[in-house]
Each structure stands twice: as structure tokens, then as C-alpha cells.
Amino acid sequence: MKNPLAIIGRIILSALAELGKLSSFAFHVLSHSVRPPIYWRLIGQQMWLIGYNSLPVVGMTALFTGAALAQQIFTGGSRFNAESVVPGVVVIAIVRELGPVLGGLMVAGRVSSAMAAELGTMRVTEQIDALVTLSTDPFKYLIVPRVFAAVVTLPLLVLVANVLGVFGGFLIGTERLGLNAGSYIQVTIDFLQAVDVYSSMVKAGVFGFFIALMGSYHGYYSSGGAQGVGKATTNAVVSAFIAILITNLIITVIVFGGVNG
């Protein structure tokens, strides 16, 4: 085999080149999103596609995860006679981490792939070229509405996920574990702080940005027919997952790294 250092070097170089291309794409999207024309109708359509269609899967994931979480905390906590921490730990875990991360990953699986497939097909069937010849900027017409819609819709979805996640914990807690409903709600409210909700929404918005960015980027630059579109779809989901997991950790460390709460 070749010199392993040379291979590693080549991998790093091509990764950096890809990252540079992605950054310039992201910059392009941002600079286009503040200049007219803005296609409100398309933004609304995308919000509907992203939000409404993702609601069942996101809601179900949150509900069941919240329920399982409550059971685990109860079982773990009973060793220290600390069953009463269930509502507090559930709400913190759901709102700070699981709601946005699971919601983001679920939506990424659905939406990044769908965007990459749609834009990729438009690329290989020359529809994107056709847009240009009809004096329409593909960035403004195709990509900005998707990114804008995802950034706005994800916080709404995560809000629903948070509520349902807590509700899942509440159901198991009161119906199965014998916790008092009134005090469950009281403890939940007492534990929850404004910063938890803010950080949850910020995360959701950032994840929405990456979901649409990765879907658009891989679709827009796909080439090589049906196979190329297939590859773009997979790459979009994988890179959206990675972006979500990394930015989640970064935001968590920034917001909660310094305080004891």
C-alpha cells in the first residue's frame, strides 16, 4: 500500500474542500434570503410539507421516549428512594436534549432526503437549468424557501415534541407508577426554567437550518442520473445527522456548561 500519511492527507484535503464548498453554499443561501424577491407562497408550502407531514412521527417518538424515560428514572431512582425526581428529570431531559435532538433527527430522516431527491431530480432533468433560462434564480426560488421554512417550522415541531414527551412521562408516572397527578404537574413546572425552553427552540432552529441546507446542497449539486440522486439522498441524511449531533453538543456546552442547573 501507499504511504498512510499521504492517504490521510488526501482524505483531509478533500474533506476540507467539501466543507469549503458547503460553506460558500450556505453563505449564498443567507445572502439571497435577505434580498427580494421572496417567495412567500413557496415558503408556506414548504412549511406545510415539513411541519404537517412530520408531526405524527415526531409526536410519536417524543411520546414514547418520554414514557420510557419516566419508567427508567423511576426504576433507577427507587434504589435511593428518589422516585419523586421523575417529573423533574423527565422535563429537563426532554426539553433540553431529547425533544430537539430526536425531533431534529426524525425530521432530517424525512425531509433532508426528500429535498435532496427532489432537487437532485430537478438537476438531472435540467429543470434547474430551465429555471435560469426563465429568469428565475434557483437559489431564491428553490433553496431559500426550503431553508426559511425549516428554520421556522422546526421550533414549532420541537415544541409539540416537548409537550408530548412530558405528557408521555406523565402518563406512565400517574397511570402506572402511582405518582400523584397534581404534584407531577407542579414539580414539572417548578423544574422547568426559561433558559431550557429558549435553548430548546434555538437548537430546533439551528437543526432546521442544517436539515434544509444539507438536503438542498446535496440535491443541488447531484450529478450522474438516478444513481447520483440516490447518493445525494443518503449523503444528505448522514450529513444532516452529523451536523445536528455536533451543533447540539456545542449549544449544550455553551448554554449549560458554566452553570449548575
Partner: protein, 257 residues
């Protein structure tokens, strides 16, 4: 002497290490119809994409209405593109919107017409290419290939452009539908008095549409002349191409690809 509408000056284009165009020179006078013929992969579509500004040639310049499309900024490019209509090889209709909106797209987005007015024009253009108004309400994916081509043609002529490009307008159609499309192209071009550039490997189509014909081979224009002269070009490559013979100077690079 007026300057040509389209003037391609010595353009070259390579992808990675593969040279596709090496020094192409072509010009089209106002109101004229030039057809570029050439084999698959000879660079016809790439030439057209360079003229549209969708690809940037590595060297050379392309004047459209006197403006160099390879150098102008995005705003000016838009202004030039408004004078151009294009029929794509696969029609390239937008499948997320109905047929009439496809035809009206350039009118609404590019020229800023009201939707109702644009729809009226779109339906008129659909009728022009022999499609009834009900077709306008369908989705492009519900149409046959020949109908899609006609919708693509209606979209290309909707804004009454001065210049129209046709990329393989008859490929993949049966001979009768191909002839229908050829007739439509000739009629529409006459209506508008447009300047056109067509690329094709269909000789019947070329003979019908062209005023002048140019042949592209290995990245260069190897013959150019009036339509009437194509049968006495005295060029072995052109002879082989128009007779569709496997024997002659053009050897298909079957093993190299």
C-alpha cells in the same frame, strides 16, 4: 453590415482532463436558423449551455445581442436571458406545477405579469402548439413525451423571445410526431421572426428547420454552410454523418468510454 445576434468566438471547454470543445467559432445572423449537427457526446449540449451562461467556457467569448455572456454580471445576464427561449432535450417541465403554469412561468416570474393575464397567454400558446386548454390543468407527468415536447415549445415561445434554442427537439419521438414538432418550430419561428440555434442528430429535422448547418466533431466545427449545400459538402465526415454509415473517417470510440 449588422453584427450577428449570436457570435461564438473561439470557445474551449474541458471537464477535469477531458476536452469537450477546442476552439469553436460560430455566428448566427438576426432571423436566421442555424442547426448544429454532430454525434452523441460531441459537445452540442455543452456549446448551448455555454451560450446560455449555464456553463462558463475556459476561454473565448460569446456575444449575444452584442453583450459578452461570459463576462457580464448577474443583473445584465438576466436582461439578456429575457430575450431567450429554450426548449430542453427532455422538455425539463416543472413537475410540481400544472402545465399552464409551466408555460406561464417566464411571464409571471421573469416579466412580472399578473397570473390571470399570464394564464390567458399560456392557453393561447398551448393552442398554438395544438393542445387544448384542458391539457393546461394537467400535471406534466400525465403527458406523453410528444405532448411534453409541445408544452416545452409553448413555454419557450411564451414570452415571444428574439432568440430561441432547441436542444434535440425531435429525439425520442416517432417520425410523425417529430415532423409535427418540426412544422411547429418552423411556424413559431416565422411568427416571431426569431433567431434560432438548434442542435440535433436528426438529419430530417435539420433539413426542415435549418437555413444554415454546421457540424461539430471532436470539439471543432468541421463544416459550415447553407442547407442546400449539405449534400455536396465534399467533406467525408459530413457525408458519413448524413448517410448514417458505420464506415468512414468517424470511428465511434467504443472502447475508450
Amino acid at each position: 453590415m449588422t453584427s450577428p445576434m449570436i457570435d461564438i468566438q473561439n470557445i474551449s471547454k474541458s471537464f477535469d482532463h477531458k476536452t469537450v470543445l477546442s476552439g469553436v467559432n460560430l455566428s448566427v445572423e438576426k432571423g436566421q436558423s442555424l442547426v448544429i449537427i454532430g454525434g452523441s457526446g460531441s459537445g452540442k449540449s455543452v456549446t448551448l449551455k455555454c451560450v446560455l451562461g449555464l456553463l462558463r467556457p475556459d476561454s473565448g467569448s460569446i456575444l449575444v445581442c452584442g453583450e459578452d455572456i461570459t463576462k457580464i454580471g448577474i443583473g445584465n445576464r438576466k436582461r439578456v436571458l429575457k430575450k431567450i427561449g429554450m426548449l430542453f432535450q427532455g422538455a425539463a417541465l416543472f413537475d410540481s406545477i400544472p402545465v399552464w403554469e409551466n408555460v406561464a412561468f417566464g411571464l409571471i416570474q421573469g416579466l412580472g405579469l399578473k397570473k390571470a393575464d399570464a394564464k390567458e397567454i399560456a392557453i393561447e400558446k398551448l393552442r398554438r402548439v395544438g393542445l387544448s386548454p384542458d391539457v393546461g390543468e394537467l400535471s406534466p407527468s400525465e403527458l406523453s413525451g410528444g405532448m411534453q415536447k409541445r408544452v416545452g415549445l409553448a413555454r419557450a415561445i411564451a414570452s415571444e423571445p428574439e432568440i430561441i434554442f432547441f436542444d434535440e427537439p425531435t429525439t425520442g419521438l416517432d417520425p410523425i410526431m417529430a415532423d409535427v414538432i418540426n412544422d411547429l418550430i418552423v411556424e413559431c419561428v416565422q411568427d416571431l421572426g426569431a433567431t434560432t440555434l438548434t442542435i440535433t442528430h436528426d438529419m430530417a429535422s435539420a433539413r426542415k428547420i435549418a437555413d444554415r448547418i454546421a457540424m461539430l466533431y471532436h470539439g471543432k466545427i468541421i463544416w459550415e454552410g447553407d442547407k442546400a449545400d449539405i449534400d455536396r459538402s465534399g467533406n467525408d465526415y459530413v457525408e458519413q454523418f448524413i448517410h448514417g454509415s458505420a464506415h468512414g473517417p468517424i470511428q465511434m470510440d467504443l472502447l475508450k468510454t
